[in-house]
Amino acid sequence: MANFFDEMMAGGTGAVREHYREFDSWLQRQSAERIERKRAEADLTFRRVGITFAVYGDDAGTERLIPFDTIPRIIPAHEWNALEMGLVQRVKALNMFVHDIYHDQNIIKAGIIPAQQIYQNAQYRPEMQGINVASDIYAHIAGVDIVRAGEGEFYVLEDNLRVPSGVSYMLENRKMMMRLFPELFARHRIAPVEHYPDMLLENLRSVAPNAVNDPTVVVMTPGMYNSAYFEHAFLAQQMGVELVEGKDLFVNANHVYMRTIRGPKRVDVIYRRIDDDFLDPLAFRSDSSLGVPGLLSVYRAGRVTLANAIGTGVADDKSIYPFVPDMVRFYLSEEPILNNVPTWQCRKPEDLAYTLAHLSELVVKEVHGAGGYGMLIGPASTKQQIEDFRQLLIARPDGYIAQPTLALSACPTYVENGIAPRHIDLRPFVLSGKTISMVPGGLTRVALQEGSLVVNSSQGGGTKDTWILEE
């Protein structure tokens, strides 16, 4: 893993890259004490403000901080512009795909995606078949995970189209950097991100059911013990809308209402941060106490908008991922701008054979897995771990895909012994409504352990502020 792209230092010469020069010269002049003091200040502030997340199955530290690193990830405008074009294209195609799947299924008829890939997918929702949603938009908020392997060489790792989280950290990280090092913002032209909540509200209002004039938008959370509760509360507050739980809502005469101190109030758009399965105990999991009985029927009647729509998971599953470039070609008649990571689909015998023969070089992921759980990173695993995984793979090959172990780019990061490169990814948040929009940048996650490629916060990852430098 020694060979990776360093975001700050050019390979070979060790020279600082153009877009990091100003930052580097500033950094050289900072004393270790000042940086250490600022880091402690950041830690204290995050804790006091309560920007914490819960780790499931961890009783002792039920509220933890996500480590924040003070060295920003800087992306020059020309690179970002290309990424942005690629993201708009990709998310547009993905929305068209979900619409197609729940209507005419032209992509199946054209023989591009096998029908069983759809119908056998646990995320496919037959309830959505033939249902029209506002503006034909399904994934109103998409969090697309992107990694860099080399100069100009970006790959999409995952399209998160269900309830992607992390945007509050993007916003809080920026606020923190501006508070800790205001002088840096005077020296750089950093594209702002603070207007994200306004864009989000605008986007949600634009997809309200037809004929609603002044739509009421709410954020729906599973509750304060959910790991992303901070973000739910944060977004509701920033947008100035109510944060509701399932028990605050009820269905009456084909509309959704919330219980207020002045009686029922109609709700038109629900930005729900709760999985499909828990939305409506009458339609999905009957043991769900988080949902609203009857919600699905109102939704199907087009009297309320859910963002994201029910059934978007059919498009962000790892078994569908290999087909996304074909979707772009099929729906938009364009060549995809963003690359997919080459993927072996273990359901195919020849791909399985290749995977089994190269386990020590590959990354193998569960098709329905998320959060860095249930995966094998070949080069970082012991012989025993590989053999154990081999058995899992043979037992249920269609549950897995394999990808080459990418040399993820690395960014200088504070570690115990000073500054060292650590691997990073990037999650931009793409909003789809009447138009497709996003704030420049996204959330940069960093794997804090040396050599680690797992950036998930549940696995000890940290975050950085992400700067798009305007030219």
Binding site: R47, F234, L243, D248, R259
Partner: protein
Amino acid sequence: MLSRTADHLYWMARYTERAENTARMLDVAVQTSMLPQSTEDAESGWRAVLGISELEEAFEAKHDVLDARNVLEFMISDATNSSSIVSCLTGARENARAVRGVLTTEVWETHNATWLEMQRRVNKVALDGDPSEFFEWVKYRSHLSRGVTVGTMLTDEAMYFLRLGTFLERADNTARILDIKYHAAKQAGLGDAVTQRDFYYWAALLRSVSGFEIYRKVYRDAITPARVAELLMLRADMPRSLLACMEQVLFNLKAVRNDVSLDTERMAGRMHADLQFASIDDVLEAGLDDTLSDFLENIFELGNRISRDFLVPLAA
């Protein structure tokens, strides 16, 4: 506003106020216990502390010996005692966390910082064995929480429900302290004649509600039980008196009036009027004990009605 949101705000304020009053009451108990007294008197003093919050049984289920150390531990840091200071501050913070989006950043941070700091302080109390500084701190954080609420929040429904919680809880707590102290005084044979022993007893009660200096200012005279009762019940200008609390309860209840709340408002209005037009002689003649227990029952009923009309109804 969501009913659940109002519910969290109301309980956040009640827990904060309860933590403060518990600290006040314990502080006085600790001060009183330093006066020369018999073992029996000391024990009955600590029993009275538990009596105020109706916790004798819960305490006896956990402790064999009724002494200062056990009572303080039970009332300060025992997380299984829902009235302990730790439980109250945790409750306040949990409720705040559930509606942090409705609070200003300053209000939320105040509650969160209190909760974080509490854990360190509680350990220190256990180590040092001197809780007075801790009580001071709890009072101070409660003042701060109220101040930052009034100083930063919009005067809207959120504020009204916070204030409603604060004053309903305070009315309840003041009535309880007064009730128990009068009862204990009777048992101890304290009469109307003002002895030195009496002085310390009533002075301690006054101090527990920040009323000692107020008493001096208002009456400029010796401390008598009748005047203490008057001050804590009927003086509208004494911020912890029953009348002052009911005035605020009524005001905030009117501010959030809805289609079904008129009966509740009427009830609060009656309670307020009863205090406003009473003289202390009437009260004493009718019996202070009875007046206070009626008042406490009414407060309980009023709380239930507020829950039913506006909030998440309490489980039956």
